[in-house]
Symmetry: C2
Subunit: 358 residues, 2 copies
């Protein structure tokens, strides 16, 4: 864990939703003075009652964290730069648009005190009651200083990020937006397209679904009102990728209609190559993991017993999925472990009476 | 669990790969006589050594299970109908194309002895060494009798499916192919398109990836050679869905370029509706589940301790994801539990010293 530098305080968090309240709670763990404000006074009362704030909003903040919906970021950032706050940051999912909006409202000199930020953490829930001091623990948090950002402001925001338990990842705002268009916004939209086909499926089709479909569509359950704002705020980068996808899709459709396997195979090969590039745990290079499947009776305590037996084997579990079964009180648990450990784990679990397969 | 009827034996499994060998192992659990054959003699030796077969291929089978690659299904099904086998089934992912191929090679009378099948089970591994007696336990297994399938043949295949531990789901072959085009083939292809954008991403973009992207792209790691055959064998149904997606994609691209939120929101709303339709566990209606997040130190035994503490709470875990963190020895575990149980679980875990949030 990186040591966190001193966080200038007090910190004013503007917007006491999930992210803002969680930032307050995380900073209060480190005894940083925090104030919260919100257009809805009840949100301030809730966040304060939860322990996310200990000083009032007129505290004269050393750092302002803007945690309002994407549409309002530019104006609120500019407002706090106008007020003379020494450092202003935000937590929006898109970085170029709010920077441009703020730049149109304040002078170059004031803008030096702004450094964009974006914690890669969240929840399908929203509002202050969903907040947690642990929300950012171990997550990446993008920092997007612009050309004229004051180095002292960047250092202050980096210290705040570390104090929240997150790891700062520095990117240029445009590069950030292109990155999240690719790693977050495009996947969200295509998951919604797949899920849209499920929305209109005849009921009989739904008998043949498995874990693969659930995985592909999970993120499509996110709040449409928020995602509308995110996608339109990052329109150029998202549109560029959608155009690439449309080219691929046209080629694919043509190849499928003609039963021409070459282009289909090329596209599938590229998909395999993409999955191999996703970073492994702890930010290191991708490691060879493999899956072990275990049949587990579906009642309380059985999963615990399996994990306890796994713990006894000394093998660390990298990931775990539970695939529940239609019509039967048994679940298949997929344990992902390092390839060079799976044999040992399988022997150990079989020795303890579990039915496993690879 | 449904009671399994008597399985006519011996059963000849043609193709000793992952599925064929697993069928042999599953039937041998129930003391059904099994023979295996394969164009590669070493596969027969391996499968037999693993315990998937106990009689020779010239046993005069009561049921033949064809478990060869999609391209060869029709010819091998027809071959065994020609030989006079009383019942022939197969395990291909697509059902209309092999039925048509077999029908072109044998008379209507012989075809009565064929009943298509498709177990919804598999692994990213292949070959007989990857096989398991437990592979089908609790999984759906589509049965696709055609108009003239003999009812006795259907009953025999259903008994075989149950003996393998799976649950038969009866569908017309065309309906089956349309269903899996929607629930399996289209999701696979769109996951490959998303993953293809990752294959060509600048390295800096990969710092901003999370569980969502990993979930969307996971299935894109599947074997391209197999998926090429599946997609082309189901070309009409897959092409129809790809055309629907292209219409959506064109609308979406136009809306994003124009920053026109209405159509974007409509598409996102449909995605949410789709996720709500996916069946809940045990084939029942979707149930309201919710997530509880717990911070877990990343070394052997900690996950077991968490699950043991969860077991003590009496709350049943529906699903569990581990989100590993860049640069920090801590993981966030997402426990999915019934909505009306999450409060109790959270209180119980907090009482045992875990840091949680919702």
């Amino acid at each position: 864990m990186s040591a966190a530098g001193p966080v200038p305080g007090p910190v004013l968090v503007v917007g006491a939703g999930l992210l803002g309240t969680s930032i307050g709670l995380a900073l209060r763990r480190r005894d940083v003075d925090v104030a919260v404000s919100d257009v809805r006074p009840e949100n301030v009362r809730i966040a304060t009652a939860l322990g996310a704030a200990n000083v009032s909003a007129d505290c004269g903040p050393a750092v302002v964290v803007v945690a309002v919906p994407p549409d309002h970021l530019g104006a609120v950032i500019a407002e706090h730069l106008h007020r003379g706050s020494p450092v202003v940051t935000d937590v929006g999912s898109v970085k170029s648009a709010p920077l441009a909006a703020a730049a149109a409202l304040v002078g170059d000199d004031a803008l030096r005190r702004y450094v964009g930020g974006h914690p890669l953490a969240g929840s399908e829930r929203s509002g202050p009651f969903a907040a947690s001091a642990a929300l950012f623990d171990g997550r990446p948090w993008a920092l997007t200083p612009h050309e004229r950002s004051d180095p002292d402001a960047v250092a202050a925001v980096a210290a705040l990020v570390r104090a929240c338990g997150a790891t700062p990842v520095t990117l240029d705002p445009v590069e950030h937006d292109e990155a999240v268009a690719r790693t977050s916004h495009l996947p969200h939209l295509l998951a919604a397209l797949v899920s849209g086909r499920i929305a209109e499926a005849p009921p009989s089709h739904l008998a043949l679904t498995g874990q693969g479909l659930r995985d592909v569509t999970r993120i499509a359950a996110g709040d449409p009102a928020l995602w509308q704002q995110i996608v339109t705020a990052n329109a150029p980068a998202v549109a560029a990728l959608l155009r690439e996808v449309r080219v691929d899709l046209d080629r694919l459709l043509e190849a499928v209609q003609a039963a021409d396997r070459g282009p289909i195979g090329g596209l599938l090969d590229r998909g395999v190559a993409g999955t191999a590039r996703l970073p492994g745990k702890h930010g290191g290079p991708t490691r060879a993991d493999t899956a072990l499947y275990v049949a587990v009776p579906d009642h309380p305590g059985e999963l615990a017993r399996l994990l306890a037996d796994t713990g006894e084997s000394g093998v660390n579990v990298e990931d775990l999925h539970i695939d529940h079964d239609p019509d039967r009180p048994v679940g298949l648990v997929e344990l992902t472990v390092a390839e060079d450990r799976v044999e040992h784990l399988q022997a150990s679990l079989e020795g303890r009476g579990w039915t496993t397969h690879r």
